[in-house]
């Protein structure tokens, strides 16, 4: 045991390493999420282009702490690219992206961003197919994720309980020891959401979370998201209007890489420009 506790002591140099990219220019509590202005995500004037194609065109968007925001928009509107920018996968050509007041997302790596509290669910469910559902959640669990710790990590009873709780919540408690690759499509979606929950993120990015789900599953997903709002901030990209309606939050319409309209669903649906984009031509 003594060997373990010795290794648990956080090493100053390594902490620095994890948070190093985040604290540039903001000496106030480096690496911590600062919600003093009640804004959790702040995108300003972001542009991304691939070989002349403009995926994002001066996109500006803010999400408040605890908000549940739906993003809709036709194919190619830039929804996935926007998520790539937020999670550090794609670097914007210009513009600013901040998590809270202080964390500059454009200068952080993917793991750093995940560590700071942004969780992402992909459009296509990506889970670890050769691991069991339980192990998937264990890997996602909020913990010290450095190599040294993982070498000697063992689950405490508390942690087991938390995994069990999430398994119940995503209704996979009976599939805990099955290989994730053997789950149904809907179950995989849920498992991925469960992994997000294990991460305890402050902001969840969900890319078409109910694609391939039955109506029943969709309904339960909506309930889960609504219950998460408030304590978490959510950004949901979805095409399913019934689902968007069930979530009930503010809706942002993206088109050709920038925000076309914003407001509640009814207002947005009545907006002539939105109708034009969806129905026109």
């Amino acid at each position: 045991m003594s060997a373990v506790t010795e290794l648990e002591r956080p090493d100053a140099a390594d902490r620095e390493n994890w948070d190093g990219g985040a604290n540039t220019g903001h000496p106030v509590r480096p690496g911590e999420l600062d919600l003093s202005h009640n804004v959790i995500l702040y995108l300003d004037d972001i542009s991304v282009s691939f070989d002349g194609f403009r995926a994002l065109n001066k996109l500006s968007l803010t999400i408040d702490a605890g908000e549940l925001r739906c993003i809709i928009g036709p194919n190619g509107a830039g929804k996935t690219t926007m998520m790539d920018v937020i999670t550090g996968k794609t670097r914007p050509d210009s513009g600013k992206a901040y998590f809270g007041q202080t964390l500059d997302l454009t200068r952080m790596t993917e793991p750093q961003i995940a560590h700071a509290g942004i969780g992402r669910k992909f459009q296509k469910p990506t889970i670890f197919e050769h691991h069991t559902a339980f192990e998937n959640l264990e890997l996602a669990m909020k913990a010290d994720k450095r190599v040294r710790r993982s070498l000697f990590a063992a689950l405490s009873d508390d942690e087991r309980d938390r995994i069990a709780e999430v398994l119940r919540r995503i209704r996979l408690d009976r599939e805990a020891d099955r290989l994730a690759g053997l789950l149904s499509h809907g179950q995989k979606q849920w498992l991925e959401i469960g992994m997000l929950l294990m991460q305890e993120p402050r902001l969840l990015l969900l890319d078409e979370p109910v694609a391939g789900m039955t109506d029943d599953e969709t309904e339960r997903t909506a309930e889960l998201f609504v219950s998460l709002a408030g304590s978490h901030s959510l950004m949901v990209v979805e095409h399913d209007m019934a689902f968007v309606e069930a979530l009930g939050g503010k809706v942002t319409v993206l088109c050709e890489g920038s925000v076309l309209a914003e407001g509640d669903l009814a207002t947005v649906q009545a907006d002539p420009r939105v109708i034009e984009v969806y129905l026109g031509r």
Partner: protein, 539 residues
């Protein structure tokens, strides 16, 4: 002192005579004064030969030819040519009343022979074809002395060809460097700056040597000019060497390109790394060897053209092996790139061993056709060999052919479609399996052509492909997958960079440096030179 003075005098007399010949209209007979030297000792004979060369004309030629054949002799004061039983006067060509046996023939020793060749050169300088004149000018400029100056001047006046003029001007300058007149020396030192010959540079450097307090060249202006000229020569030599290096880089790049093009196609289309690709080179080279053997036995008259006949043979031999490989093994490995590495490595072991057993483990001998040997001399010591020039041209030819196939034919369109999106191509009716086989056959065939090219400049043996496989993979890595343009730039770049590094640090260190360079480069551009950007380039 006495004899030396005498010789000098004699020379002067001879020169006056020679000049008189040059100045006057053509005449039937030689000035007897020109021939007087043949009575003296060897030194005076040499002087006489030189004078004859400078004088030129058919008569002089005739006398020299006789001397060369050992038919020139003297009797008393007369110089005679023995022609069988008849004896003629050397100056006039008229028969002389002297018995052949009485003529005291002039023996030809080495010194005389040297003088003769110079005289011949002098003669052809004035009258020969362009090539002869150039060779003569070069020959003469090597042992130029003041005696030749008038000849040079005369030749220069008549000469139209730039190359010959250049040689002549430099040769004169060389002589003038030793002149007593500083103005002449200065002019010469400046003129020598036109040369690209390291020997000329040494000559100039002698002027700049300091012996105690005295300079070898007393005049400061001449020294300055010499310094400037040395710098110019250095620049020119360096340029020539750079061109030579770039050229050998290009030829290495062409080979790499031929090897890598096939690899890029098969990897792009099937996502399979073919470790046996080097053995396809080997198959192509052996096919070339086979064609050469057949030509030797059955068409010896056409032997020079066996390389051309080998082009289709090498292509189809390698393509056939490629198709067999694809059908039997690779087809089952789609989507498993790492395993395909192992399986194709196994294939390469089998192919190498098979060739060892069938043909034998020793290298086989391939001869360059005569039209591919030799080369263009760029400067002293820098030669661009013809075989490499042909290979560069050949690579360009193959490249154009592939480009046309890929861009202008239906098959090319299919190959591009499968490269980009296999399932989608399948859905719209592209026969993907057949496209795979054909693409693989083309890739393998190009490797065979690479082997053919390689056989002209490198050893051909069963394991020859192994040495190129790592390099051609580097080209694919550097150029980016499925990118024809990327492969071209990467191959040429790698070839040239390696050659420069080789010149600077040796072959092994160069290889290591290139590898380090590639690793560093991939840090910056993981997708290669021509990276596809955007969300579809994910990997």
């Amino acid at each position: 002192m006495e004899p030396a003075m005498n010789r000098l005098l004699l020379r002067l007399v001879l020169f006056c005579a020679a000049l008189a010949c040059l100045a006057g209209p053509a005449r039937a007979a030689l000035d007897p004064a020109l021939l007087a030297g043949f009575h003296g000792d060897f030194s005076s004979r040499v002087a006489a030969i030189e004078a004859l060369g400078v004088a030129g004309g058919d008569d002089a030629r005739r006398v020299l030819a006789a001397l060369e054949e050992g038919n020139l002799g003297v009797v008393g004061e007369r110089v005679l040519i023995v022609d069988g039983d008849t004896v003629r006067d050397a100056a006039t060509g008229e028969a002389a009343e002297v018995a052949a046996a009485d003529v005291d023939l002039i023996t030809v020793n080495n010194r005389v022979r040297r003088a003769l060749s110079a005289a011949h050169a002098a003669l052809s300088l004035l009258a020969g074809e362009r090539g002869e004149r150039l060779a003569a000018a070069q020959n003469l400029s090597e042992n130029a002395s003041e005696t030749l100056l008038p000849l040079f001047e005369r030749a220069l006046a008549a000469e139209k060809d730039e190359a010959v003029r250049g040689v002549l001007t430099r040769a004169m300058a060389k002589v003038n460097l030793g002149a007593a007149n500083p103005a002449k020396r200065l002019q010469a030192a400046e003129a020598l700056g036109e040369s690209s010959d390291p020997a000329v540079k040494n000559m100039l450097a002698v002027l700049l040597q300091k012996n105690g307090d005295t300079w070898a060249e007393p005049d400061i202006a001449v020294r300055t000019a010499a310094e400037a000229s040395i710098a110019a020569i250095d620049r020119r030599v360096a340029t020539a060497q750079h061109i030579g290096t770039v050229f050998s880089g290009l030829s290495l790049g062409s080979i790499l390109l031929l090897a890598a093009l096939g690899l890029a196609i098969t990897y792009g289309v099937m996502g399979i790394i073919n470790m046996a690709h080097g053995e396809l080179l080997m198959v192509g080279a052996y096919a070339t060897f086979m064609v050469q053997t057949l030509f030797r036995s059955y068409l010896p008259g056409w032997l020079d053209w066996y390389v051309v006949a080998a082009i289709p043979v090498a292509f189809f031999a390698a393509a056939l092996v490629g198709v067999a490989m694809e059908r039997l093994v690779l087809r089952h490995l789609y989507g498993r790139p790492l395993e395909s590495l192992l399986a194709t490595w196994g294939l390469s072991l089998v192919l190498i061993q098979a060739m060892r057993i069938i043909v034998g483990p020793q290298n086989v001998e391939l001869a360059n056709p005569s039209w591919m040997s030799g080369g263009i001399e760029l400067a002293a010591g820098v030669v661009l060999p013809w075989n490499r020039i042909v290979i560069i041209g050949f690579a360009v030819f193959v490249l154009v052919l592939i480009w046309l196939t890929m861009q202008k034919t239906r098959l090319g369109m299919f190959v591009r479609a499968v490269t980009q999106n296999r399932p989608m191509a399948g859905c719209v009716g592209v026969p993907t399996a057949r496209v795979d086989t054909l693409a693989f056959a083309i890739g393998a065939g190009i490797a065979g052509l690479g082997g053919l090219a390689l056989s002209q400049i490198a050893n051909v043996g069963p394991a020859m492909g192994q040495g190129y496989i790592v390099d051609s993979f580097m080209v694919v890595v550097l150029g980016g997958v499925g990118q024809l343009a990327g492969a071209v730039w990467a191959a040429l770049g790698l070839g040239i960079v390696s050659k420069f590094l080789e010149g600077w640090a040796g072959a092994v260190i160069a290889k290591i440096l290139v590898l380090v360079f590639i690793i560093v480069f991939i840090q910056k551009r993981p997708q290669g030179i021509f990276a596809l950007k955007g969300r579809f380039a994910d990997s």
